[in-house]
Subunit: 338 residues, 2 copies
């Protein structure tokens, strides 16, 4: 299990820190067409699985039964930063279900968006489950449970029908039994499956390609693609890297981050899926490595690469705002023509 | 330049993330007696150099001229968390110099202690240079400048006499010309020298042993040892790992963290110095790796190791406070008897 050298953090004339990682790129036939580091490394995609978890929300008819908008679907796939654009919608969604935040299985939190957090502290507002970055996903689970007539109670347990349905859907994309994957517990208390980088890339490639199918599944996944493409700021937050990537590629490439340095990206038009993990869990190396990989595979044109230059290599500022270093990608392995 | 596998972050049944690093242990004769990873890796000790930077403050007589207490000396060596115990003393020190926070070359910041930050936000207090974790060190530089009749202006420049004096003192410990070390710029705007893990361990071993010398230098370093030993909570913050280590070893082992996953530890009684760097800069692997190294070298007795068990292996909690994983050290290389 060898991680590769992904990115270097330079300070002045020298490398100060190094990030290792592993990434895999697969096509919808399940072939891994590119690897950076060991694509057999097994780890937890964490929130990068949310776009797959959300399939049930649309496919069961729950989303339509509760009048969910594309914005709500984006939030079901989101690790949001707790800005008002996120939390107002989550609160409204919960009340449409006749529920309050106590129904959410995630713990109370402050938003990860610092300005919003400061506003809330100033206003004397306590941490809330609605502010937790996973609150939209949890609303999705509760909506499926309500629509299917399943109990809300215990929806965080692996045995709950909502979790079983998620793993059924995941199995189709994985082309293998997802119920057999090892499980950890996620930060938001829900089951967290682990799988190899290669298998996650394959799953995302099939997820990318599935939107083209004229089936119920295809239609559901197509709606999720459209929601994430149209509302990347709801999937993460204002000005976040996924927003930049989606805008620069005019929605051609969609991505979803996960905790501990994970991310997935997928290209519906080409049926390609990418899974990427920074070994140490630090997100600062994640986009830098992804963009190096995309450039190496010629999956970004020159204009897109130029628009993303300051995501592909990011400055380190000191406390008076002077640039004193840079986070730079290492050279990924040479790619064959895709 | 190979980093070693230092620590694993487990989630349930599997490793989720991995931290790599390098460490060196040296004695005061300049011999590297132990290595974990490549001890030749050159990087920036950052704030781990503060105990060396503070030598001039005592040795020039500046500390006595301005009536500095052991608490003030601890703050000169500190990367403090901006709690009131830190910032009140820094503010008082500044006014003793007839200065205000505008004299500090570091930028304004909020304290890294979250409760203190929340209190300040609630009170409508803006970020301040006094809250910056390096403000004590900066007071030290200003005090030396005042005492020596040097200008305050430009004390952050490598050519300033305070910086030159620091590198003179550092050269004695390094047993080589510290003026020749490559320089970056630190987060607080001061020059940040880079050197190998081996050379930093050697410097800290000589710093450890120097306190025994009946010389002016020995007396200065002895006072700094005593200040850090007596007031570890001023060197970092309430309940921080350095406080735990110093308490558990009754001051036998003293440590100082630096940004980007660096730390030094030293044992005056044995004239030993340790330099340790987590490659990716994440501090969560730092104490875990240090304690594994100390145990392997039999530098902790059973009682000390037991008292530090929850620093040596730390839980990962989910958002409702349930333990869902652990940060665990990897096995360091086997040590010969020291």
């Amino acid at each position: 299990m060898e991680y590769a050298r992904f990115a270097e953090v330079w300070r002045g004339p020298l490398v100060e820190s190094v990030h290792f990682g592993a990434a895999a790129v697969a096509n919808a036939e399940g072939k891994v067409i590119y690897g950076w580091g060991d694509t057999g490394i097994v780890t937890f995609p964490r929130s990068s699985l949310k776009p797959i978890q959300a399939i049930a929300l649309v496919e069961t008819g729950a989303a339509d039964a509760f009048g969910l908008t594309p914005e709500d679907l984006a939030l079901a796939c989101a690790s949001h930063r707790g800005e008002p654009i996120h939390t107002r919608r989550v609160a409204a969604w919960l009340s449409r279900l006749g529920l309050t935040e106590t129904a959410l299985a995630c713990g109370p939190d402050y938003p990860s968006d610092e300005d919003t957090m400061a506003d809330l502290i100033r206003a004397g507002t306590a941490p809330s489950r609605i502010f937790h970055n996973c609150s939209g996903k949890h609303c999705g689970y509760l909506t499926v449970a309500r629509h299917m007539g399943w109990p809300f109670e215990g929806y965080r347990e692996p045995s709950h029908p909502t979790q079983q349905l998620y793993l059924d859907n995941f199995s189709d994309l994985l082309d293998s039994d997802a119920h057999a994957l090892p499980l950890g517990v996620d930060g938001c208390t829900l089951p967290a499956p682990a799988l190899s980088m290669a298998d996650m890339a394959r799953s995302m490639a099939r997820y990318a390609a599935a939107g083209a199918a004229e089936t119920k599944r295809g239609a559901a996944i197509r709606r999720l693609h459209a929601a994430m493409r149209a509302h990347p700021q709801l999937v993460a937050g204002t000005g976040q890297p996924n927003v930049r990537l989606t805008q620069a590629t005019r929605g051609r490439i969609i991505m979803k981050g996960g905790a501990e340095g994970y991310l997935v990206a997928f290209i519906p038009d080409q049926g390609l899926g990418i899974a990427l993990k920074v070994a140490d869990g630090n997100s600062r190396a994640r986009m830098v490595a992804l963009l190096a990989l995309l450039r190496e595979l010629k999956l970004l044109d020159d204009g897109e690469a130029a628009a993303l230059a300051n995501v592909a290599e990011t400055p380190i500022l000191n406390s008076i705002g002077t640039e004193v270093g840079r986070v730079r990608a290492c050279h990924p392995p040479a790619a064959d023509e895709i």
